[in-house]
């Protein structure tokens, strides 16, 4: 038997010693490798059939509002991009977003977002948890983990799936926080691929997995007995979900989609992931996060006007197809699609070297639609040069309150963490944007 060095103060009892080690192997497998990144809510008992979904397409890096939803064409801050008329009279957006222009009468756009964290990772955290990283008393969960907690999937499906990663770990893509590993999104590596590291297909392999899982859960139960360790239940949930995934592998298999449907999304990684997101929602997965490229692709400090239009075009193609697809399949009214990054970009065109725009939190834009969000609405505005919100400022807590309201989750609800009330948004401050509801 291997001798395991003890940490100071650790219990020296041999059975605890052994079971901790084995338990940690199981937990480590879940966190780092093996069945790594395969976590999903296991609320089978509590699952209720619910019909609301979310697809969050996250535009990491800080998309420029000037080159997306709030162009200032012809102004000194406007840059080279032109704008085009949308399906909503008087509402114009960037010229490289013809699909979103066509679909503007199905979506709502907020042009008066305002926030105050201009660092990428802090911004990511705030824009996906509703909390500032410096002010949380417990690690805040991703809002889709909250959704998975509040509205778990039925029928053994994962409640929350994450498609693609961003550099920056749990700041870039926050985890389940105090909700525990059972509400972590099931990770897929992007480019339309399903979960990694699943055991091989086949009844024999499935039996082998079940035997290992029985051993692991038995050891976990032994470890937890008398300790009251919540993580044991959390990890049991995660591994239980793996077993169910093995029986439904084709959930993630976009090669089963007709070529015409694939083609509509464009030949890009984002296109593949938006297609997979639509497939997952269609099959009953309620919450999906899609990462648009890795490496802070929307962070155009330099050479913005050589590369922005390519990025915007692939975004518009994939997201436009997603909205069309969801609508065509009768899922639009029950699926909230959210298109946003962590902040916006400066009105001034300076950048670093060949021109671009720097970070800007004071006034920026995002778009959402479906799931009952009022279509064709444009909320708020900025001044002529886009240097400030002119009317109807919307904060990230307001935005989150709006998301929750659209999903039928009480924005004022408080979760519980070790007996402490945890509001869904920072200090419970968010108020739903009524114009969108």
């Amino acid at each position: 038997m291997l001798k395991v060095p003890l940490l100071p103060g650790a219990c020296a009892r041999v059975e605890h010693h052994l079971s901790r080690r084995l338990f940690l192997q199981g937990a480590g497998a879940g966190a780092l490798g093996g069945f790594g990144r395969l976590f999903a809510a296991d609320h089978a008992g509590a699952a209720t059939k619910q019909g609301k979904h979310v697809i969050l397409v996250f535009m990491s890096g800080g998309p420029s509002q000037f080159e997306t939803w709030d162009p200032k064409t012809g102004r000194p801050t406007g840059g080279p991009h032109m704008n085009i008329q949308t399906a909503v009279p008087g509402f114009r957006i960037d010229e490289y977003m013809p699909n979103l222009a066509r679909l503007a009468n199905r979506t709502a756009t907020i042009r008066s977002m305002t926030s105050d964290l201009g660092d990428h990772m802090e911004g990511h955290y705030l824009a996906q948890t509703g909390h500032k990283p410096t002010s949380v008393s417990a690690t805040a969960p991703h809002w889709l983990s909250v959704c998975a907690h509040e509205r778990p999937a039925a029928g053994g499906l994962p409640s929350y799936v994450v498609l693609g990663a961003e550099q920056g770990g749990n700041m870039a893509v926050p985890g389940p926080g105090f909700l525990g590993a059972g509400h972590q999104g099931l990770y897929c590596p992007g480019k339309g691929q399903g979960p990694e590291d699943l055991p091989a297909a086949g009844e024999k392999e499935l039996d082998a997995f079940r035997r290992r899982e029985a051993l692991r859960s038995g050891l976990g139960a032994e470890f937890g007995r008398g300790r009251g360790v919540p993580a044991v239940g959390s990890h049991d949930a995660a591994f239980g979900a793996v077993g169910r995934l093995l029986a439904s592998r084709d959930l993630f298999d976009i090669t089963k989609e007709p070529p015409k449907r694939v083609e509509q999304y464009g030949p890009t990684a984002l296109g593949r992931d938006c297609l997979l997101a639509a497939r997952l929602v269609e099959k009953g997965v309620p919450f999906v996060r899609v990462q648009h490229q890795t490496g802070l692709a929307w962070d155009k400090h330099r050479r913005a006007f050589d590369s922005q239009r390519n990025l915007t075009h692939e975004f518009d193609t994939a997201v436009g197809a997603l909205i069309d697809d969801l609508t065509g399949r009768g899922l639009w009214d029950t699926t909230l699609v959210v298109l946003m990054g962590e902040f916006g970009r400066t009105p001034g065109i300076e950048g670093q070297g060949p021109p671009g725009r720097n970070h800007w939190t004071k006034s920026w834009s995002m778009s959402l639609g479906g799931c009952g969000a009022k279509p064709g609405v444009v909320v708020g505005s900025t001044n002529d040069d886009g240097t400030a919100v002119k009317d109807r400022p919307v904060t990230i807590p307001d935005l989150f309150a709006t998301f929750y309201a659209l999903l039928g989750i009480d924005p004022a609800k408080e979760l519980d963490f070790e007996g402490r009330p945890m509001p869904l948004t920072e200090n419970g401050k968010g108020k739903p944007v009524k114009e969108v509801l």
Partner: protein, 344 residues
């Protein structure tokens, strides 16, 4: 005698229109062929214009510079394409507003209003070039198309498909026999200067990548043809290749950024963008690359010749051009100034 050195001129050139704004990056520069005037397409809907002999002023954030005027206004967007006719009588501008405009030159500047103004492409006009006889214009557009125009009335003579991504630049050979277009698809298309039919396709490679925060720019961003119409130089984000225009064979290569220009009087070539390097090249040593052991085309040798000088890394010369007499070299810079260097 080939040039031996580069000397930075004392004067720099900038513009200001009174609006509160960031530096107007100078993207494409052109010397007027017959008058001591300098023009640049910048991060504005207008073209910057200077008297080369203008007085230097101290202008706060702009620093010390000859402060020019802004001319050739488009309604919106930025001027992306600029050229001056060989006789100096016309300026052509193309913009992100998709329009092509022709401006008569008189009294040392372009007219206040355009003589001709037409919708040119279904996308930004990325480049425009007068033919050596001044009778034709060729444009490259973000609609992936190249177009040939009658320079007299801006009527379209031919639309040339072929690129599969944004067409980024066009240049004529000085003998007028061909013109060349280059695009972000990584191809160079050589066209007959009289029939406008395709002559050959040259694979520059490395189509523009658009991933992450610092997308690797490549494909063709700028191209130029040498004074003797023999050599074609193309610049992507990673390299400058020199080709034998008659055969399409690559004969030299250098690590470089997005800009390139030949001298009209000497065997001198400059690259540009983050760092600009200037070479007196030895054309006698240009040689097609030898095939590799599998019989595939290999990489050509490094540019033969002597480096005359270079700018500091990060100096960002995003527009480069020699004067008609080959004695001046202009670097349009990201900091909003145009610097001149004497080629001696």
């Amino acid at each position: 005698m080939p040039p031996a050195k580069l000397v930075k001129a004392a004067k720099a050139y900038a513009v200001a229109d009174g609006a509160r704004r960031e530096p107007l990056t100078m993207a494409q520069v052109r010397f007027h062929p017959t008058e001591r005037r300098l023009l640049a397409a910048c991060a504005d809907r207008r073209v910057a214009l200077w008297d080369l002999d203008g007085a230097v002023e101290e202008r706060g954030k702009l620093g010390t510079a000859v402060v020019g005027a802004l001319a050739c206004p488009h309604d919106a967007g930025w001027v992306r394409a600029l050229d001056v006719s060989p006789d100096g009588k016309w300026v052509a501008t193309g913009g992100s507003d998709r329009r092509l405009k022709l401006w008569a030159w008189a009294d040392g500047k372009p007219a206040a209003t355009a003589s001709k103004d037409v919708p040119a492409h279904d996308g930004w006009v990325e480049a425009v070039a007068f033919s050596p006889d001044g009778k034709l214009l060729v444009t490259a557009g973000a609609d992936f198309k190249v177009k040939v125009w009658n320079a007299g009335d801006l009527s379209t003579l031919k639309v040339l498909p072929g690129h599969t991504r944004f067409a980024r630049d066009v240049a004529w050979s000085p003998d007028g026999k061909v013109f060349v277009s280059g695009g972000e698809d990584g191809t160079l298309l050589v066209w007959d200067g009289k029939t406008f039919e395709p002559v050959r396709t040259i694979a520059f490679g490395d189509a523009n990548e658009q991933f992450g925060q610092g997308p690797g720019l490549s494909g063709v961003h700028r191209l130029h043809v040498s004074r003797d119409s023999r050599w074609l130089a193309a610049a992507g984000g990673k390299k400058v290749d020199v080709y034998d225009l008659a055969t399409g064979a690559a004969v030299a290569t250098e690590k470089a950024d997005t800009q390139v220009a030949f001298s009209p009087t000497d065997d001198v070539l400059t690259t540009g963008s983050s760092t600009a390097k200037v070479w007196a090249y030895d054309a006698a040593k240009f040689a097609p690359a030898k095939p590799d052991k599998n019989g595939k085309p290999g990489n050509p040798a490094a540019l033969p010749g002597r480096e005359l000088g270079q700018t500091k890394p990060g100096d960002n010369a995003v527009g480069v051009r020699f004067s008609a007499d080959g004695k001046l070299l202009a670097f349009g810079k990201a900091d909003g100034k145009v610097e001149l260097w004497e080629v001696a």
